[in-house]
Structure formats: C-alpha cells, structure tokens
Symmetry: C2
Subunit: 242 residues, 2 copies
C-alpha cells in the first residue's frame, strides 16, 4: 500500500526532507494535502487527523505519515520509521540511531533558520519583526551556521567508511537531508553560505553527489519540487544575508 | 554495566529529562561530568567525546549517553534508546514511536522556552536582549504555551487506555518528561502557568501522580536534583511572566 504523506501544500518546509527520501527511494506515496478534496484528499483530510478523527495518535503539527494503522509525526521520527523500510538507513540499531541523531541536529538548525526571520512571533509577518530578525540572522551567520556546518564536515571526516556519506558506506536519508539543508542555506543566505561552504569540501561534495543521483535529479526537475519562496523555512531577505 | 550519562553539571537543562527516566527506573548510571577529574570523569571527559576522541559518532552537544560502544545524543533519542531497556516505553514499534513523537514535541516546547529569554543570541546575557525577550515571552504565554499544553490534555483525553498516562496504561518516559515540563513552566511563568493549568485537569493530575512516585520523590528530595536557577532552560524573570 502507498504511504500517505501529509504536509502543507505549496511549500517545501519541513516536509521536504521526507519527500526527498520517498522520491530518492522510488517509494510509492500519496502527497495527501496536494490532492483533490473530491477524492477525499486535500488540506481538509490533513486537518481531520489533526483533530483526532480516526486516531488517538494525534499529530501536533504536519508533517506526518500514515502507513496503514501507524501514524508518525515529526520529520525526524518519520524518517526514522521509513529509513530501514525504504533502504535509506542501516539495518543495525547503532547505525539507525546515529542516522537519527544527525537528522535531529538538522531539525535543530532548521528551527534556528526559521527563527532568523521570525525571532519574536512565528504567526506575524517578517516586516513586523525585521530589526530583531536582522540582529538574530547576523548571529546565525556568524556563530550558528558555521558551528553546525563544520560539525557535518567533522563527522564526514570521522566516518571510518570514508567521507562520501554521513553514515557508513551508502546513502541514508541524512545525506539527502544535508543536501536539502545546504540547498536551503544557499538560497536564504547566498553570500554567507558561499563563504562557509568554501571551507567545507566534504559537505560541498556530498551536496553535489546527492543532486546528481538519477531519482533526485528527476524529482528536482519535476513539478512536484516546488521552488523556494518567501513562505517556507528558507527565505531570501537581502537584509538577513551579508 | 552502568550507563554513562554526559551533561553540563550544575544545571537541570535538557539533561534532566534523561535523569528523571534513569532515576524513576532505578537504573544504574554515572553522571560523568559531575564526577571528579582524578577519576577520569568531570567536564573534560565529556569534552573529549565531543572532540571525537574514541568515537566517530561525535555528539553535536550534550546531553549524550554511552552504553558500552553505543553513543546516543539528543534528549529524545537517548530516551528512545533507553525506554524499552529500562521499562519506560512500550515494547511494540507503534507505541515506541508514539512515545518518541510526544517527546519530540516536548523538545520543541523546550526550545521555545529557551528562546523566550534568549530570542536573539543564545550566547549573550538576558539583559542584553531583554526587550526582545519581553515581546517573545508574551507571545509564548499567550499563544504557544496554551497550544502545546492543550495538545497534551487532548492526547491524554484521547488515550483509549484512559487519561492517566500519555501512552497506553503504564508510565513511560513521556509522562516523566511532561512532569518536568509542567514543573519548569510553573517555575518560569508562575502566573501564566497557574492560569493555563487550571483549564487542564488531566495534565495537572499526571504532574501530581508523577511527583508522588516513590523513586521520583526520593530523587526530587535528593542533592542530585539541582534546583531551578537562572542559568538553565526554565528561568524566572518577573518581566517575562504575567
């Protein structure tokens, strides 16, 4: 049976990390909220689950995944669940956990990226908190982004199976997520990202290798890949780069 | 062999969620960074692992746990690893995942609590970002805290095994973590928390039930439980409550 994937349509957001894994694995899935209401899909089908209709495992927020009777929310938990099933995580517990930890660190960066343009109130507009965003984004560019990115470089370097992958000697969902993180940072902070990535050859090479995988290439060129825009996690506001 | 637990000594912080699980389970563990350097413990032993000495699974940040050759970082991942082993999570995959998802939602609240007093720069002092903190904390009290806490009330209500536990019919680490969340919020935002909790009988009852468990009671009264203070996640600044 196809996986049912639930996320806000029209943006990449947190859901995109799951989409990349499903797409790269060639898994069969329905992007429910992008479907038609007359087919029982669309945003209303997503909101029904969030109201607890037909489940006691009520997601706090999208993204979430339904696989038969199982519902999993939180990007990193969805990928933990899917990883072994779609061939994008090691089979042994230690490797699965390590992949999950890397993903949880990506979750942490993502939250800080979001706060760089919404430091005070997630429900208000950027222009209503612009001065605070300028202050916060400067710290993100100077301290946080380099700290996170150099950790990825460090663990690639420390991988005993070689620096081509984050975990072991084959591609995991963590590699695909690091691709997406680099892609997003390069969109949101083109100047700062270029400067940082120049110091990080392993991260840069991994990003390129993931973009060149046949199914990734096909997905990235498809209409299913919505472009980055000023409503997702990664937003290009020139005031926040430098 | 005893679990080796690593976290900054002297504060509760994110590590406290793990400590509560270990303590309630009566597990044998060494709180490494609180030990003596002459015994090979203390903060230097923690920092050595973060530099990648003797491991390729380098933690980005504390807390982390070592169990023989396995190293796990991130509070929620540590609890995922420990849960089944110390009797604080269901044995079946669906239940384990649901417990983990609840914990990941607690991770999200915790980050927002931290940002309520550090909205701009995590490495600077509160008084250097006080006005921004006042603005952000007001949003947290008005929108975010009620949204998170009412979700916990909602899933307690939806639990088919009854509202005494978050997952199934016995205590999991998620219950202990919700105790700690309520405890922390009541310390940091006494006025706002009291107002919210008055509307949430199930969350309030769970908090009380956890505090009454014999091993929890013993731990909370011990010297191992450091008090809340103005250096952890939960901080009482009167300007931020109301």
């Amino acid at each position: 049976m196809a996986y049912e994937f639930f996320y806000w349509p029209g943006i990449q957001g947190r859901g995109e990390f799951v989409r990349l894994a499903l797409e790269d694995a060639g898994a069969t899935y329905v992007d429910v909220a992008r479907g038609l209401e007359r087919d029982g899909l669309g945003v209303p089908a997503m909101l029904a689950l969030m109201r607890g209709e037909n489940t006691s495992h009520i997601p706090f927020a999208p993204p979430f995944l339904r696989d038969g009777k199982v519902i999993v929310s939180h990007t990193a938990a969805i990928l933990l669940y899917l990883g072994g099933r779609i061939g994008l995580a090691p089979s042994h517990e230690d490797g699965r956990l390590w992949t999950h930890q890397i993903q949880l660190t990506i979750t942490d960066v993502i939250k800080e990226v979001y706060n760089s343009h919404h430091p005070i109130d997630e429900d208000k507009w950027f222009h209503e908190q612009k001065n605070e965003a300028i202050a916060r984004a400067a710290i993100f560019r100077r301290d946080r982004m380099p700290k996170f990115l150099s950790w990825f470089e460090h663990i690639l370097e420390a991988n005993s199976a070689g620096p081509n992958h984050l975990v072991g000697s084959f591609v995991t969902y963590a590699d695909l997520s690091l691709f997406q993180l680099v892609e997003g940072l390069s969109f949101a902070f083109p100047l700062a990202s270029e400067r940082e990535l120049a110091k990080l050859p392993r991260v840069t090479a991994l990003h390129k290798a993931m973009a060149d995988r046949p199914r990734m290439k096909a997905y990235l060129a498809s209409e299913r890949r919505v472009p980055f825009k000023e409503t997702g996690i990664f937003r290009r506001y020139p005031e926040l780069d430098g």
